[in-house]
Subunit: 344 residues, 2 copies
């Protein structure tokens, strides 16, 4: 026994009869009186689910994995009240992931610009003539210190260049242009299968109503025969009975077609949601790898930067005031002959 | 015997008789004829030197040290033709040294500005909202990566702050304001001693001329007596002889005063040039130390900068797509009840 229940919805469900609200238990009064009805299934937005209290409990398809294929069967409402399928939630996650990559790449781009500015400033300063006249060992150390800024600039330019090629570019391109097309394909494919389900469900409802009508007709005609109310012959009753049976067959066929459509949709849901799950794992792992590349480049940069100090340290080590005096005195001395007393 | 030789010069030597060019050997013709004259000394700009060929060779006051006190006795010409004393060359070196410090401090100031700009840019970028919606373990790693830019900014601000207090400021202040005053004092003191020498030399020349006149007068008078040319008495000759002797004594006194002045100047030259030498050693050693401080700060900075990557690396290590899926699915799942076939 099924309980049909539905919600107002928009989009692909507009034309489905399962959308109009119906009170629970819309079976014929006769049946209601005859048995205690245990509703074990419920159809929501044309998808049929077991009622949660019914046994046996479903096992997850992929226990302990929090897999997409286990948790997105039902539709939900978004904050505006529109119906959103579980699959659309998964799809949105993937599209948002692409947006995240793009924003991360923008962030890296900004870092690149900062590094290039820094490098440019260091490079310019390294060429300023401050204290260019300093000579000797102290002059050499100073000159190397100034040059080291150009070396640092080089290091930062290399950093920014690698940031571009090894982090920014991959972030922008690892989901190619095909990604959005693929997502659209999945979207349309699954949506089409839901639409089919909706129309098959409409057919079931129509067949169910037709059967109810046929059954009522048969019942009325049988009652009339019994109380000899009309001149209906047994022939009429046989005809009514045949139509009723046919309507029952039709209903069976419609239900069967509905169940096939639902199974098809079910299979595609499992396959596609697992693909989206795989894509998400791939996205997270790729981002992890690219961000690790970022930290590696930062480590390298700091190390190369440190090494620009080596020649400066060496020359500072060699600073020798005595040697500098010798060099300077040799160049600038005016005379080593000392004055002597004048004779008369 | 001395040879007076002098050069055109400006400044403190304007009033000295030793400035007018004189041909070598300006002794009286009589003397020139009597002996072979060996010039062993020469006076240049009122300072008296041995002629280089004469023995014994002077030993340096401070052998193997290229000491200022050994090499700046003579004057020289600057490119414009003006006379510059050896001492002035030494003084200029010290004043230029102060200029060098100032320029080095300016260079450091420029570095400080570059670092502050870099820090500001990193700090701003760390607050940009790119990919702020990324969640789970990958979201945490990303958030930490962004934060690390603020940590880097902190490192560079600290660097620039220490550059200011430990390098720039000392470079600007280690020769205090008194330095220029001290240099002026030395300059005037030594220049005054040279001026004294110039006036003592003028006195010597004057006395020398006076003696020559007295001697000539005596000679003339003696000759006249011999040829009984005049009615000059022996009394006149005795007078002439007395004046001649007095002129000789005057000359001796003037030469003595000159030599005293020269000795005084000599002593001050040695003392002061050694002080300038000491100041130069101090200057070079101080600059060496401050530039070493610069390289130390650079080393530190690169190390601190590297350490900003540690928390990022840790969080990247912990990235777990499965965990992220669990977190996300728990929050966004729509329903775990799977569809079942519809019953009739």
């Amino acid at each position: 026994m099924e309980m049909e229940e539905s919600f107002d919805a928009e989009g692909s469900f507009d034309d489905a009869s399962c959308l109009s609200p119906q009170s629970p238990g819309s079976t014929s009064p006769a049946r209601r009186q005859n048995k205690e009805i245990k509703e074990t299934k419920i159809t929501i937005n044309c998808v049929t689910f077991p009622v949660s209290a019914s046994a046996p409990e479903q096992q997850l398809l992929k226990p302990n994995e929090w897999s997409y294929c286990d948790y997105f069967w039902a539709d939900k409402r978004d904050p505006q009240g529109a119906t959103v399928t579980g699959f659309e939630v998964l799809l949105q996650k993937q599209l948002k992931g692409k947006q995240m990559q793009k924003e991360m790449a923008e962030f890296i781009r900004e870092r690149i610009k900062i590094e290039e500015e820094y490098a440019k400033n260091l490079s310019k300063l390294s060429m300023f003539p401050m204290a260019a006249q300093e000579e000797g060992t102290i002059g050499e150390a100073w000159a190397q210190l100034k040059k080291s800024l150009a070396d640092e600039a080089e290091v930062h330019l290399k950093f920014s260049s690698k940031l571009q090629s090894e982090v920014e570019k991959p972030l922008l391109t690892f989901r190619g242009d095909n990604f959005k097309k693929d997502m659209k394909k999945y979207d349309h494919h699954i949506a089409d299968l839901r639409k089919q389900l909706v129309s098959r469900y409409a057919a079931v409802e129509k067949a169910r109503k037709a059967l109810a009508d046929r059954q009522k007709d048969l019942e009325v005609k049988t009652q009339q025969l019994e109380i000899k109310l009309s001149n209906k012959t047994e022939e009429d009753i046989k005809k009514a009975r045949r139509k009723s049976t046919q309507a029952g067959d039709d209903l069976m066929r419609c239900v069967d077609l509905y169940n096939q459509a639902q199974s098809k949709w079910f299979e595609e849901m499992v396959t596609t949601s697992l693909e989206l799950e795989r894509l998400e794992v791939e996205r997270v792992e790729t981002i992890q790898q690219l961000l690790r590349q970022y930290t590696t480049l930062r480590h390298e940069t700091d190390m190369f930067n440190q090494s620009t100090m080596e020649p400066v340290d060496q020359l500072l080590q060699s600073v020798d005031p005595a040697k500098d005096r010798e060099l300077w005195v040799k160049e600038h001395k005016t005379g080593d002959m000392r004055p002597v007393d004048m004779d008369i």
